[in-house]
Symmetry: C2
Subunit: 204 residues, 2 copies
């Protein structure tokens, strides 16, 4: 292994350790109460190392958010390409979002606490972008389903909100409620129930 | 006006000023970052006055939560007595919850930030009780609607989650998104849409 590759790997490992330490402190204590000193101590490095890679506490926070949102965007773009019937695409999209949410639940907790709570001095961030994108993709699936005659001519916007509401609420249930009162299978069941209503009607 | 009544009114006014000042600081700065000194300064009283009425910062927080949750419980009990068809009761219940949420939006923000975020040293509180009660009341309406033949024999639990999901997501939209992308009228529309699906079927 060349010297340059070795150094790049060591760089990436240190950055990852710092990001993980920052995420842990931010979620456990809050953004405002976390100091650079604590982050570097948990990562086993010195302050100048954090300043070198991220510039500041704000910088490491933004890097954490940008990295996470890039993963979200990538997953959403992938899920947007789903094929099959409207029901298959909507279900695959919603369960795919659910899985991503659960996979990143710790950083999602941080996002929720800063989105719903006081900003605590954290730099502004477009927290809502993934939700906007989800609305857009779901609306496309609903539109296609109506055009193909799979769904009756429901109001596209209203039907989209009904679907995203179920997804949103079931995802949030995984954030805090122990144990969650509704899970991935429950999400699929309620989606099927409302999609039955938007197509041939609910079967008793 | 008797001396005793005058004193009781002055007491109530001071308590209210302290509770309002505490709510303002907790939501703006966070629970951990708020000091008793700031609360009493904003309320125009001295520290011993806060200690006399509430004992501590934890005490004023719990009083704020208990008072708010008592109002929520009262409203939910009232909404639970709604009469009419299943659709009328479900719609009146959901719009009534929506109105209460918007009316108390500042304290709801505080609840969300402590429920989703780090506890910041705030004393534990059964934040989820109103949601549990909402689930219970909505399930009763769905059960009655099925028994009366107004709704088809959907799975009661799944139908309840579909309805509360719409309510929950539209309420949350009022918390943070400016302007909200869906409002009270939108909530009624999506409820009608899914209830159409649970009854005679969605009309194109």
């Amino acid at each position: 292994m060349g010297q340059q590759i070795k150094e790049e790997r060591a760089d990436a490992a240190v950055r990852q350790r710092l990001l993980a330490a920052a995420l842990d402190s931010f979620t456990r204590k809050g953004y405002a109460a976390t100091s650079v000193r604590e982050i570097v101590a948990a990562a086993g490095v010195t302050k100048p190392v954090l300043y070198y890679y991220f510039g500041s506490k704000e910088g490491i926070y933004l890097e954490l958010m940008n990295g996470t949102y890039a993963l979200f965007a990538e997953r959403l773009n992938l899920l947007a390409t789903g094929r099959g019937s409207a029901r298959e695409r909507l279900t695959a999209f919603c369960t795919g979002c659910f899985d991503g949410f659960v996979e990143h639940v710790q950083v999602v907790r941080l996002i929720y606490s800063l989105y719903f709570g006081p900003s605590q001095g954290a730099p502004p961030f477009p927290y809502e972008e993934p939700f906007d994108r989800m609305l857009e993709i779901l609306a496309g699936f609903v539109r296609d389903g109506i055009a193909a005659g799979e769904l009756v001519a429901v109001n596209e916007k209203d039907a989209t909100w009904a679907i995203i509401s179920c997804l949103n609420t079931v995802m949030e249930e995984q954030l805090c409620h122990t144990p969650p009162r509704i899970d991935r299978e429950g999400l699929v069941r309620i989606l099927n129930l409302i999609l039955d209503g938007f197509s041939q009607g609910v079967k008793p």
